[in-house]
């Protein structure tokens, strides 16, 4: 398998490896986009100490509001793409792949010629985002020579990570990866149906059945046609493939619009930095990879640890949800036939993504990184120290959300004791986070045992 062999997938095992890469890419892109969006200055308080008039700040806030809308829309759709890849994995009889290497990921780890970095929003970050989402027909016009992560160009010459689980595949763009995947389902190199669809059709999660909101469209994959349509959807929404000119709602065009607006701002108001001074590739775990920056501020360390623990539990719940899902359970109340599955869905999606990952990620970006990094803020590291496990029993999830609830409460109490240093806004955000985690912890066993309350 490889470029010299026409990027052909020759067996179900090779397809499984390619799907694991696709899952890691979608997951990794999502984290990078979220990180950049969290770093945007979006309120007047984010401009504290910036000696510019209020009208100029309000102008930048209007821009960053629009950019955040675009970037978070793309990030949400990367989660949709990850769900599509998981459906392809499930059709193949493979478990959902929700592990990924920690940031930064050196060039060459994936065949894609780019690093994976957690960087605040700036010109180089947007260049990298445009490369990730670039349609192949623009490769010559929009060349990208990855400068490495961060201002110091860290990792430019770092050796790639060796991820044995999916070595050997060759591709130069995300679009090419999906075209290679499509070749396994249809065309001269297609694999036999008996190899492609070994999994249960009832395990196919579909957006119409689970009430994903906000136009999230995850189709079931039960035959070759479904698989090709799902893959086409990913490249249509990402690179805009299938429309001429490229679809205006594609990720590529959305990032191009943000980039145009960013360049215009820096040209007209060069002193107005639209992003907080968030450090590149922040980390707190002891096994952080080379090129990451160890955060030392005690509030940031606590918040980042809480973030990482919640992120891990969210992924474990997602994996459990996908592994445990069996069939369309009919109309309201959703999941009437499977309370545990509804519990995992209702904890992982709305609360964890919208009420934990985002607000806590945004809070971390507003905390200092520590005395070793003067003038820099911390950021959410999305650090994983172990692979999210498959479906567990209630006790496993309950233990972890109880621990998270306790950690959230301790973080709030600690921050309240240090309000003079970190300010009342941070304390209020921590208090709200603590309340959210507490209520999520109370909800879990009830949802698991009884399902959705139908008022």
């Amino acid at each position: 398998m490889g470029k010299d062999q026409g990027s052909r997938i020759g067996s179900a095992e090779e397809l499984a490896g390619a799907l694991r890469i696709a899952a890691e890419l979608e997951h990794g892109l999502c984290c990078q986009y979220l990180f950049a969006a969290f770093t945007l200055r979006r309120t007047l308080e984010d401009f504290a100490g910036v000696p510019t008039g209020e009208d100029a700040k309000r102008h930048v806030m209007a821009l960053t509001q629009a950019w955040a809308t675009q970037i978070l829309t793309v990030a949400r759709q990367e989660m949709e793409h990850l769900a599509i890849v998981i459906n392809l994995q499930s059709a193949l009889g493979e478990p959902p792949h929700l592990a990924r290497p920690n940031f930064p990921v050196p060039l060459g780890t994936y065949p894609l010629k780019a690093h994976f970095c957690l960087e605040r929003l700036e010109g180089a970050t947007l260049d990298r985002f445009l490369f990730y989402e670039r349609p192949d027909y623009l490769a010559e016009e929009l060349k990208f020579d990855d400068p490495g992560c961060c201002e110091g160009k860290a990792l430019r010459n770092a050796p790639p990570l060796v991820l044995a689980s999916h070595a050997g595949l060759s591709f130069e763009s995300v679009q090419e990866l999906y075209q290679t995947l499509a070749g396994a389902y249809s065309g001269p190199d297609e694999l036999p149906a008996v190899a492609l669809f070994r999994g249960s059709a009832a395990a196919q999660v579909q957006s119409g059945a689970v009430q994903w909101a906000q136009s999230v469209n995850v189709p079931p994959v039960t035959n070759r046609h479904d698989a090709i349509a799902a893959i086409d959807q990913v490249t249509f929404e990402g690179e805009g493939i299938g429309e001429t000119p490229t679809s205006p709602s594609s990720h590529f065009v959305r990032f191009a619009e943000v980039n145009r607006s960013y360049v215009e701002l820096r040209r007209t108001l060069p002193d107005m930095d639209p992003a907080l001074p968030v450090i590149c590739n922040p980390a707190v775990s002891g096994e952080a990879p080379p090129g990451s920056k160890q955060i030392t501020d005690p509030a940031a360390v606590r918040a980042m640890g809480l973030f990482n623990d919640g992120y891990f539990l969210m992924l474990a719940m997602l994996r459990g949800f996908f592994e445990g899902y069996r069939g369309n359970f009919g109309t309201y109340p959703t999941f009437a036939g499977s309370a545990p599955n509804s519990a995992l869905f209702l904890e992982a999606y709305y609360p964890f993504m919208t009420m934990f990952i985002r607000p806590l990620g945004e809070l971390v970006c507003r905390l200092p990184a520590g005395p070793e990094h003067p003038g820099k803020n911390a950021g959410p590291g999305f650090e994983l120290t172990e692979e999210p496990p498959g479906l567990q029993d209630l006790d496993w999830y309950e233990d972890r959300i109880t621990q998270l609830d306790r950690a959230g409460r301790e973080f709030h109490v600690w921050l309240a004791d240090h309000e003079a240093t970190y300010g009342p806004d941070a304390v209020l955000a921590a208090e709200r986070q603590s309340q959210v985690l507490h209520r999520m912890g109370l909800n879990l066993p009830r949802l698991w045992k009884e399902g959705v309350l139908n008022p």
């Binding site: 209007a62 009430q211 209520r439 309350l453």
Partner: protein
């Protein structure tokens, strides 16, 4: 005194309110709106999420009260008493007409992105805290009818994040939810939803050309873009989100059981009664709906009634 024996003073109210709120999938405390269809714009303060029933109660009114075309019925914010009567008696209690209705203690819609009520498909928010007040200055004094309802009587009170069992406050959850309500259309006078926002867009386009202030102009442009974006239908069979919400109706119906403040009964011609949480016979009862939501102006319509034990 039993509920059956006691006559009821029934006060009916209606009018528009304002609530500057982020919308799903933005987090509850998103300051200015990013992923939902509502935005804080220009010189407006960050979202406060408070349900304001009177214009004069809107914080930073000069910044936060959005303008619209003159003919728009949504320009006025004021929920007032439309009629009052004593159930079982003839005649009306005209003195209360025009009284201002308020929800006190800075109430918010509490859903917390599906954490608090398991509203997978439906919007089922609580209104917390809940304290309703009817107040009117009249010749000879002031009439005040005010009562608070704790979400869960006792120690928990309004701390809903400490409740693992939503059945404890099930009566405070909406009792009905209608996507396209005839009652709402009759009350708001708006039935041509597309036309309603078309007029708004035309007005915004005109205002953008008239406004010399660049911050204000940019804010108007954001409003216009949001209407355009969220008027688009996700499905051919349903209208876009912002249009769809004009027909929304969310109904609450529950007792009001906590501490009360009653003044000016002599002006009413009878005594309004209230007991404590342990005296169901003297609970007040309310049924009201919020709906007809204009996601551009961040205003909706409220209509309902408050029923109180009354001794003529």
């Amino acid at each position: 005194m039993s509920a059956i024996e006691t006559p009821r003073l029934v006060v009916q109210f209606g009018g528009r309110f304002q609530c500057r709120i982020p919308t799903d999938p933005d987090p509850t405390w998103e300051p200015r709106g990013v992923s939902g269809y509502t935005r804080a714009i220009g010189r407006e303060t960050d979202f406060d999420r408070v349900i304001c029933l009177q214009k004069s109660d809107i914080p930073h009114f000069d910044r936060n009260y959005r303008r619209a075309e003159r003919v728009s019925p949504a320009n006025e914010v004021s929920v007032t008493v439309k009629a009052a009567r004593v159930e079982g008696a003839t005649g009306t209690v005209d003195i209360l007409e025009g009284a201002e209705v308020r929800l006190l203690r800075n109430p918010e819609y509490i859903l917390w992105n599906q954490i608090v009520a398991d509203g997978v498909e439906r919007l089922v928010p609580l209104v917390v805290p809940f304290e309703i007040e009817i107040r009117k200055q009249v010749a000879g004094g002031e009439i005040v009818l005010r009562r608070y309802d704790p979400l869960v009587p006792g120690e928990i009170g309004d701390r809903f994040w400490e409740v693992g069992e939503p059945r404890l406050y099930a009566q405070r959850l909406p009792s009905d939810y209608v996507h396209l309500s005839s009652e709402v259309m009759e009350s708001t006078g708006i039935s041509d939803f597309e036309g309603y926002f078309q007029r708004r867009k035309e007005w915004l386009e005109l205002e953008i050309t008239r406004t010399p202030d660049p911050v204000e102009r940019e804010a108007l442009e954001v409003r216009l873009q949001a209407i355009d974006l969220f008027s688009q239908s996700p499905l051919p069979t349903s209208p876009g989100l912002i249009v769809n919400r004009l027909g929304l109706q969310c109904v609450w119906e529950h007792p009001v059981r906590g501490e009360a403040c009653i003044e000016g009964c002599d002006l009413l011609g009878g005594e309004v009664l209230a007991g404590g949480p342990d005296d169901p016979g003297l609970y007040w009862q309310t049924r009201f709906w919020h709906g007809g939501w204009d996601g551009d102006l961040l205003r909706g319509y409220m209509q309902g009634e408050l029923r109180m034990p009354f001794r003529p």
